[in-house]
Point group: C2
Chain length 207, copies 2
């Protein structure tokens, strides 16, 4: 039975997804035709639909890939013993990821997805899940910090998490628009700002 190997199948799938990513990044989701993806990937029109049941599925697959990568960042930050250091690491890692030019295509498609999430329930679910993951990672760090007495007890962890995630998201927007964002400087500001949430003991430990 000439079923191609799982590896071969995965390669084909990636070949299509890579092409789709480039197309979506360049032309946007709606202005990318399946013919474009055919041209860019080198596979035929029909093959597209052997690997994805619809064009939407391709964006969704790209979205999942992205969230998997973000999950790694969050897990990495959790590893840090000191929760404050973990928070700082998260900021650092996100900044690093954003300055990396090679990942810009993915970011651009990500932003397309943010808009698409407004009307496509499956993409909405995917975006919200990714958001929740990062948010919960931050909440855990904050709560740990409150437990150790490094972070002020009256701080609302949920609100901090939402605010920090919002900042990350906004910076992504500005970067993909080609703005000259001084990411290290913004990182320092966020660093300073988080200082405001700490107890005197917490401040002593992280400076």
């Amino acid at each position: 039975m000439p079923k191609i190997s799982e590896a071969k199948r995965e390669t084909r799938r990636q070949q299509i997804l890579d092409a789709a990513l480039r197309c979506f990044s360049r032309d946007g989701f709606h202005s990318t035709t399946t013919a474009d993806i055919v041209r860019e990937s080198g596979v035929s029109q029909g093959t597209l639909y052997l690997y994805f049941t619809t064009k939407d599925d391709m964006v969704l697959a790209l979205s999942e890939d992205r969230h998997q990568r973000e999950a790694m960042l969050s897990a990495l930050a959790q590893k840090e013993q000191d929760p404050i250091k973990g928070l700082m690491a998260l900021i650092e890692l996100h900044g690093k990821g954003l300055s990396h030019d090679a990942r810009l295509d993915g970011r651009r498609v990500g932003v397309q997805g943010w808009a698409e999430a407004l009307r496509n329930p499956r993409i909405h679910a995917s975006v919200i899940a990714g958001l929740a993951m990062v948010r919960e990672a931050i909440v855990r760090l904050i709560e740990r910090g409150q437990h150790t007495g490094q972070i002020r007890a009256e701080i609302d962890p949920e609100a901090v998490a939402r605010t920090l995630v919002a900042t990350f998201q906004g910076l992504v927007l500005q970067v993909v628009w080609g703005e000259a964002v001084d990411l290290p400087a913004c990182g320092r500001i966020m660093h300073d700002m988080i200082g405001a949430l700490l107890t005197p003991a917490g401040r002593a430990s992280y400076n």
Copy 2:
């Protein structure tokens, strides 16, 4: 000559734009057909093109409207004598604007515009101009605060402005996605965080 009055013409234009806003908010820019706008506005297919040369022009017009409204917010914040109070007012005003359900349609279309800005130069220019306006308003406030000795001199005003704008943008995203964002709580966090940028003198004056 039955040239209609300027007022009548403006009314018609708004009638079309209002309909377009509802359609774009509901279905997204690309999935909204001119037929949809015709149905929603009550004018004919042809009339659309007497007021706008292309569908893109309608988004652009909506974008301009939005920025005009945001310019008012920024101007309002500048009026404040104390620059720290001005900053806080800006946060407050943006939070208020976001909680207002009536403006949600506009926000949703705004997010569509953020994605569209990636590939449409005119929308890009419009978005960047709106961004720059708010950013510069914040920079001015920070610089005034540094001048009065309320804000630490070593703070980079540009970086603060970018970071704050980013946070606003991210909160917009989360709100339009229907997330249960506790905006007052987030406002308090931002309030606290800005405290980290102040001199002891500055902190004394704003609490």
